[in-house]
């Protein structure tokens, strides 16, 4: 489970719900996606977790690495609430995330698209992170596309970055630091998940979310049963609880802002009007194919180190 709003939301909503409806005690371990994989990889035969929650990139890694148990939707009562596109042989989506641009409305003008990040207007005020996170990778791909690149070619992004570096605000390779750096005014513009913006806003930070003019990115966070998990029955009960209408509706409310994948939970009225009106609109946002992205990601991460290093 990711630390922050995910952990808070799941502890506050899902854990008591599972206890009440299925009498299953849940232990939540706050870990970023890749740390979860590392932990399970280190103890394949006797994994410390029964289910794990992953972004699309890490999910492909975990599946290819043989860490994920085959997913059996027939074991879930609530699977009928979920669109067929949201599950496959390996797992099921539990929330949609939207990636776009965040800015401080008290300090800078509202940016409109990805190109603005490198505009002289915002010199010294933009913070970026690299290919180590899902939102960083997705955003850099969208920036590449604007300059002729694609999901497999981010060369244009590197060229833009190189030219912009003398006017850098912040480069944060440790994702934990990003929120604090924004809060402390070290940067006023950055790319991030909508959910992060919602959480910071709920804590009184001056922050607003912008859907880039070329379309916001959306991706689905999926849940998977770990191969060799000790408590598979309970794992399915837990997943079933997450997909229930009651839980999905509660998790969608701010400050958690985890966009529902359940058909019975309308995306309105919890979301600000201009973010996303319906599941149909969400489906039209930019989607990336992580099976194409992943094979190049290691090389991009290494390259990013070298390009940004002083």
């Amino acid at each position: 489970m990711y630390p922050g709003p995910w952990e808070e939301g799941y502890r506050a909503v899902v854990t008591p719900y599972v206890k009440r409806t299925a009498d299953v005690e849940v232990i939540t371990t706050p870990l970023l996606a890749l740390d979860q994989i590392a932990k399970i990889k280190a103890a394949r035969a006797n994994p410390p977790l029964d289910v794990f929650l992953l972004d699309p990139g890490p999910a492909v890694v975990a599946i290819e690495d043989g860490l994920v148990d085959k997913f059996d939707p027939s074991r879930l009562k609530n699977i009928g609430n979920v669109n067929k596109a949201f599950y496959d042989d390996w797992g099921v989506a539990v929330a949609a995330q939207i990636v776009g641009i965040a800015y401080n409305p008290k300090k800078v003008e509202r940016p409109t698209g990805w190109k603005d990040l490198f505009s002289p207007k915002y010199y010294g005020k933009v913070g970026i992170s690299g290919f180590g996170t899902t939102f960083g990778t997705s955003s850099l791909i969208e920036i590449s596309k604007l300059y002729g690149g694609s999901e497999t070619n981010v060369e244009p992004a590197f060229e833009v970055l190189k030219k912009w570096l003398p006017n850098v605000g912040v480069i944060a390779q440790n994702p934990v630091a990003v929120n604090t750096l924004f809060q402390q005014g070290q940067m006023d513009v950055t790319y991030t998940n909508y959910q992060t913006v919602s959480t910071l806003k709920a804590r009184g930070v001056d922050i607003e979310f912008v859907k880039p003019d070329t379309g916001p990115i959306t991706f689905y966070t999926t849940i998977h049963v770990v191969k060799n998990a000790a408590n598979k029955d309970n794992a399915y009960k837990y997943i079933d609880a997450i997909l229930s209408t009651e839980v999905q509706a509660a998790l969608q409310k701010p400050p958690y802002s985890l966009l529902s994948v359940n058909k019975n939970v309308p995306l309105q009225p919890d979301m600000p009007v201009d973010l996303v009106k319906s599941h149909e609109e969400l489906a039209k946002f930019v989607h990336h194919d992580w099976r194409k992205i992943n094979p190049n990601r290691a090389a991009w991460i290494e390259r990013f180190n070298r390009e940004v290093r002083q």
Partner: protein
């Protein structure tokens, strides 16, 4: 019996994991199928890796220099202070050790940031018109690390200095030496082993300070601890991560051995 239990504990929980690390570093690929020194060749064959190693060790040297320059006079002040004042001073000295490294590190963001304490004071005083870049610079990192590691420099220095015979100073004065001469000819040579012990602790701990390095140093300062973390948990290249860890370990160990040898010589010198 207790000794045997302790050595067993040491063997199980320190030497074995370390041995495992060395073994993992000898796999040729992340799939860990074949063995060979490929990872070390990869490290050595790329100038980028050398420059990261060099920058990491240089950071240690700079932090040691700053803590020594500030810490030595502080230790002198401590030993000269009134006996009743000393416990209070000691508490202030170890205070940084009593707060979590994460809290201390985030506090430095508040101090050094663009909207931070230092910039705001300087701007209010009219000394600068635009905020200075302090966070995510090497200077900022060295300053923050020096504060964080300062107790490690002060404690060995103070423990050695307070054991020095106070008569030595009077003897030096009686023989006609001024205060500065007494300091440089008597106190400094005698406290050298403490200074070296402090340098050693500060060096090894600042070189490996992952949290402070990544958060205060920022993404543009690629240092070995971050590099290891990235290889191990983002790229899942455990053999390469293990090889870098061994390189870092050996580099720090070399510095420790050299400083230790110097420490022994300085002790011998002090006893003449």
């Amino acid at each position: 019996m207790a000794g045997r239990a302790l050595s067993l504990f040491f063997l199980l929980f320190f030497l074995m994991p370390l041995g495992l690390l060395a073994v993992v570093s000898l796999y040729t690929s992340p799939e860990m199928a074949a063995m060979g020194p490929t990872q070390y060749a990869k490290f050595g064959g790329d100038g980028f890796n050398w420059s990261v190693l060099f920058a990491t060790l240089l950071l240690g040297v700079k932090t040691v220099a700053l803590t020594a320059v500030i810490g030595y006079p502080l230790a002198l002040v401590f030993t000269e202070a009134h006996r009743r004042l000393q416990p209070i001073l000691l508490f202030v000295i170890i205070l940084p050790l009593l707060t979590s490294v994460v809290v201390r590190t985030f506090a430095w963001i508040v101090i050094l940031g663009r909207d931070g304490l230092v910039n705001r004071v300087l701007m209010d005083l009219g000394l600068i018109t635009a905020p200075l870049r302090l966070l995510h610079t090497e200077l900022g990192l060295v300053i923050a690390l020096s504060q964080i590691e300062m107790p490690l420099m002060l404690l060995p220095l103070i423990s050695l200095m307070s054991r020095l015979d106070p008569n030595l100073k009077d003897a030096s004065a009686a023989l006609g030496a001024g205060r500065w001469r007494t300091l440089f000819r008597v106190i400094v040579p005698l406290s050298l082993p403490g200074l070296l012990a402090g340098c050693l602790l500060v060096f090894s701990s600042s070189v490996t300070a992952f949290v402070s390095q990544t958060i205060i140093g920022g993404g543009r300062m690629v240092l070995l601890p971050f590099y290891i973390w990235q290889q191990a948990t983002t790229l899942f290249n455990w053999p390469f991560a293990a090889a870098i860890s061994i390189v870092l370990l050996l580099s720090v160990l070399t510095v420790v051995v050299v400083l230790n040898a110097l420490g022994r010589r300085s002790r011998a010198y002090a006893h003449v």
